[in-house]
Symmetry: C2
Subunit: 381 residues, 2 copies
DNA sequence: TACTTATGTCTTGTCAATGGACAAAAGTAC
DNA sequence: GTACTTTTGTCCATTGACAAGACATAAGTA
């Protein structure tokens, strides 16, 4: 059913901006006009496709633009972080229609956290009365591929195998998708800023350290869903650094926001979290700046290998420590340790905010409006 | 043309062993019997498909087996290594019909080396009179994706951009495909021993050090074709080790066969190449064994990060140094430095011989008999 | 007003594939 | 040897998707 010219595929072409007029779809799909019209009619009556403005005329009648009807449903997305959470109600293009955020301790366990998130969701929904097509949640822990549950999270006590999908699914009557924050940040960054990149890596450095990989346009998870798990690689030379995972000398125990907070506190500058470290760095406190560069270099040691192995086009540093001093440390080691071949066309960037929420929206929209799913709904309806 | 049930796809199902009887193809493809018969007839008259033996009866007429006619053409494959080359004439399943090998210095330049390889090819062809469907060459240097030429090879003087495909293509009247040895070893290992693995890494440790990745069944090359290029990551702690790439402290300058040969020579045990080092290790010479374990640990440092990033199911150590002492060093560091999550289901193995030749054959066969290519030929013929 | 380009809507023909019906082949069970 | 089962081949009418045109509008520019 899902051929390269099925209705679902056509919708994908429009949705991803690869073809936004009937003319473009005609040449791109190779379909005849009659067939194309029939398909588009189906999509339009299903409310998936809408007509937009007009192209500039090239001498004759201007082409009418087609757009994915991104207003006929909304997505609920949430990013749960260690000490903080953020939720958004977006249209299907990821535009934010409403937003909430606030302190929320993931360590309090799933029900308090998800309860608060559900309250936020409901408050946002009260404002706009549109059906919810899906819920996407970003969590700071490992998620088994395809499951909506966290497994053996190091910093999420009480969450192990908690049925996040059931809790939220019953409450909002929509499919619930969950993934790890680094994965979703990578997905969000890819879709929002580097849709053409064949390989992109996001490294999140906050309380912990983790990487997300997007390869060939899809999140790469590895065989056990552990790909990108660089936070607990043991660095040589730090046998005394105790990590919250229980080991000694982990990268996260040396260079994460949590580790730097502890060091600053030792040095008489009480700091409790990665965002506290960030504040001190941004304020220009010398000790914090030195530590940021140091941490950047440590992470850079690992990223040099990562870049040599994966050879990505884009490397994004995100999270609390994603600021110029840290990134300078990363760059310094990266360019010293990795081959020019791997770094010459590499872009190293600082990530924006809201990446995880954006990735969660993308995950939901691409699942709910995948060509196969769209075709299925059109034929059963 | 290439639908999920086209003749080419059917051939692929048979070739990869996913469906080897008409019955199986029927249920698997969902085609009607008439259509399936027509497709199979096409493939049979084109000489691509042959009938094999019979399945065991399940109470009635036993199903006849279908097999890819792996005798109707042959593949010429060659693996060029630094000091040695190996060629094979194989059928389309990769079975060796003839074989040659001998010392051959890649540093002598493309024409002497390719000339000798072409002589071997011709000698082997004289024995069996079957058409050549393609030529596959494995080289110890970087190959631009999709090209049949080496670019800026560190250890192949005179080969830069040499048109290998033209030289051999004119001589044998068949398409010529070229790829890096690590990539082809990974492909060969995947196809021969781990066809189900979703992510497999081969690390070749001989004169140099390089890794090849097979992800989702295909060779992963990264954005610039540099993926797996771990030989010249600079290790901390070896500022004096001069590498043939011109840098200092590269992994290859510390732990490759070439580096160990130099160290052994310094210690009064003259050794010229990686295979010389191998001989001394296998002979149990204490200095060589100690060095092998040392080198294994150094490579293990890098592989710990690789395994954490890629989370492969299989890690194969191949090349001159692929022997138990070296691998013990790798394992020791790997399990100490990487997370259990990444290593618990990881198989660490020692690679067999002839992997690169096997990979070269697979590269050729899969290119020449890809569904798209098969469909194209059936329709034009 | 003439021309150009984009789009919608018919009709008709083509072609691939289905779905049976019928037949034959090649085993097993007794 | 006979009855039954299962696999395979073949023929043919029907279906359904699509292409290819023809024709008609729509909506701009020169």
């Amino acid at each position: 059913m899902t051929t390269p010219t099925s209705a679902g595929e056509l919708l994908r072409l429009v949705r991803t901006g690869q073809a936004t007029t009937r003319k473009a779809l005609l040449t791109r799909s190779g379909l005849s006009r009659s067939t194309l019209t029939a398909r588009l009619d189906l999509l339009q009556t299903a409310g998936l496709l809408a007509e937009g403005g007009q192209e500039d005329s090239t001498g004759g009648r201007p082409a009418r633009q087609l757009r994915f009807d991104d207003r006929h449903a909304v997505v609920l997305a949430a990013s749960v972080d260690t000490m903080h959470a953020e939720v958004a109600l977006t249209d299907l293009s990821g535009r934010r229609l409403a937003h909430r955020e606030g302190p929320l301790r993931v360590a309090d366990g799933p029900e308090p956290v998800l309860g608060r998130i559900a309250e936020w969701f409901e408050a946002m929904l009260a404002e706009a009365d549109v059906p919810v097509c899906g819920v996407g949640i970003s969590v700071p822990g490992p998620v088994e591929p395809g499951q909506a549950r966290v497994t053996q999270p190091p910093i999420m006590p009480g969450w192990d195998h908690y049925p996040i999908d059931e809790y939220l699914g019953e409450r909002f009557g929509a499919p619930v998708l969950v993934d790890n924050d680094a994965n979703l940040m990578a997905l969000g960054e890819h879709r929002a800023r580097h849709p053409e990149s064949r390989a992109l890596v996001v490294v999140k450095v906050s309380t912990g350290i983790g990487a997300g990989l997007v390869i060939g346009g899809e999140v790469y998870r590895g065989v056990d869903g552990g790909a990108g798990d660089i936070g607990h690689i043991r660095l040589p030379g730090f046998p005394e650094a105790r990590c919250m995972c229980g080991s000694l000398g982990c990268l996260a125990a040396v260079a994460s926001g949590g580790a730097l907070a502890a060091r600053l506190t030792e040095q008489g500058l009480p700091t409790t979290s990665g965002s506290g470290v960030r504040d001190r760095i941004l304020a220009g406190e010398p000790a914090a700046v030195r530590l940021a560069e140091f941490a950047g270099r440590q992470v850079g040691e690992v990223l040099a290998t990562l870049v040599s192995v994966v050879n990505p086009g884009v490397l994004v540093i995100a999270g609390d420590l994603a600021e110029p001093h840290f990134v300078a440390g990363v760059r310094e080691v990266l360019y010293r340790r990795a081959l020019p071949r791997a770094t010459q066309s590499l872009k190293v960037e600082i990530g924006g905010t809201g990446l995880a929420v954006g990735g969660a929206v993308a995950m939901v929209v691409e699942s709910v409006f995948s060509p196969a799913e769209v075709d299925r709904r059109l034929t059963t309806a």
